[in-house]
């Protein structure tokens, strides 16, 4: 049985832990709001880019650049895994890495080669033990205050360089899509060869109509040449921003749980502290009374 002093120490240490988790939760909440705003601000660009791309992709025909159509093979896969640089955010990093590993096992069972590009320190920490031979590149943003287009540009350029060097055929990015504070879904998305999604059926239909009368300057193929790398970077950027929001969301709910657990623990500890103190007082009283009676 722990002594009174031990219990007092436990209580005060749990209390200070609770203070820290509570502070972290509040910081995460503030950062989350900013991250969500950034993710939302980037959305119009990505949407417009998708619709422009849907418009032009039909016009380019067979001249379309390789980044869009792929190499024609599917032998080597590059999995780009976006994770956080910091921990204490619940299952955030682990769930992204888990999804990527599932994909890796599945691909390798089909006889494909898998390479990893790990973004974020935590992901690298999780993967380096057993996958270090497969990690071809890594990057993190420890020295960057908030991720923006420059970071997406850096990652996008290195991915494109690797593609041009013939290092891989298919590129898939893994990140956590932000749904709300409680839910972040690990998501895989193929970016090379490009998947052209047009949102809404009517959009597609009108795009096709206009496609015939569209004029291009310079010709469609060379616009595409510039547009496709840009699109890849934009997709990376939106993944990065979603990921940042998800990270903060995950951290917020993890820290909320931790704060609540600490509260429960303090309650329990204080109950046993009070009981013990009471028991001690009772024992002392009994001792005094029986001493007095003996006289």
């Amino acid at each position: 049985m722990a002594s009174l002093k031990d219990l007092r120490n436990r209580i005060s240490s749990v209390k200070s832990t609770q203070k820290i988790t509570k502070a972290m939760q509040m910081v995460a909440a503030a950062k989350l709001r900013r991250a969500e705003e950034a993710a939302q601000a980037a959305r119009p660009y990505a949407d417009r880019m998708a619709s422009v791309l849907a418009n032009i992709s039909g016009a380019a025909g067979t001249d379309a650049p390789k980044l869009m159509t792929g190499t024609g093979k599917e032998d080597t896969h590059l999995l780009v895994v976006f994770t956080a640089d910091r921990g204490l955010c619940g299952g955030f990093n682990a769930s992204i890495v888990k999804l990527a590993r599932q994909r890796q096992r599945q691909l390798e069972a089909d006889g494909k080669t898998v390479k990893f590009f790990v973004v974020g320190k935590k992901g690298y920490d999780l993967m380096r033990r057993d996958l270090s031979s497969k990690i071809v590149a890594r990057d993190d943003f420890r020295d960057v205050k908030s991720v923006g287009f420059d970071e997406a540009d850096r990652i996008g350029s290195s991915v494109i360089d690797m593609f041009n060097a013939g290092d891989f055929d298919v590129c898939t990015i893994f990140y956590a899509a932000f749904e709300n504070v409680i839910t972040q879904t690990p998501t895989a998305r193929r970016i090379i060869p490009a998947t052209i999604e047009s949102e809404g059926g009517e959009d597609e239909a009108s795009g096709a109509d206009v496609g015939d009368t569209y004029e291009y300057e310079p010709e469609p193929a060379s616009i595409l040449q510039a547009l496709i790398p840009r699109n890849i970077k934009v997709q990376i950027l939106s993944a990065l921003l979603e990921n940042a929001a998800s990270e903060q969301g995950a951290r917020m709910s993890a820290m909320d749980n931790a704060t609540r657990n600490a509260g429960d623990m303090i309650d329990k500890l204080s109950i046993s502290y009070n009981r013990q103190r009471q028991a001690q007082i009772t024992t002392e009283l009994v001792e005094i009374i029986s001493g007095a009676e003996a006289l």
Partner: protein, 134 residues
């Protein structure tokens, strides 16, 4: 009064402008062009320079853009800019530093295609610089 149409200027980080406008002048890679309502569907790449939008209210807005795409469709004009800054907030020094980086890359470029590309970028940047200082 001229008919107005929708003009959206977006950069990767945010939506800069989404307004009804009468006319927009855009620095295209193959020459400046102006877009008015009911322009034929048209798409081009953009070089560094100043976009001038004449708003439906009559006021004018100037924005410096660096690279990107302009897409004229039935719905209006969409400009996807790599970087975009309103002209009064724009700092010419940042353009100067871009020019010097471009010069540096050019001096290092080895194969001809790359050098050609760099020379073009540099010329465009210098162009924008002179346009700006005027």
């Amino acid at each position: 009064m001229a008919e107005s149409f929708k003009f959206d200027l977006v950069s990767p980080e945010k939506l800069l402008l989404s307004e009804d406008v009468e006319q927009v002048t855009v620095p295209g890679t193959e020459g400046d062009f102006a877009v008015m309502a009911k322009h034929a569907p048209f798409m081009t790449t953009v070089r560094p320079g100043v976009v001038t939008a004449k708003l439906a209210g009559g006021s004018e807005q100037k924005i410096f853009v660096r690279g990107g795409f302009a897409d004229v469709a039935e719905g209006g004009l969409t400009l996807l800019a790599e970087h975009a800054t309103p002209l009064d907030e724009f700092d010419a020094a940042s353009l100067d530093s871009d020019i010097s980086t471009a010069e540096e890359t050019l001096s290092k470029a080895e194969d001809d295609d790359l050098r050609f590309e760099q020379e073009q970028t540099l010329a465009q940047l210098r162009d924008a610089r002179t346009q700006l200082s005027r």
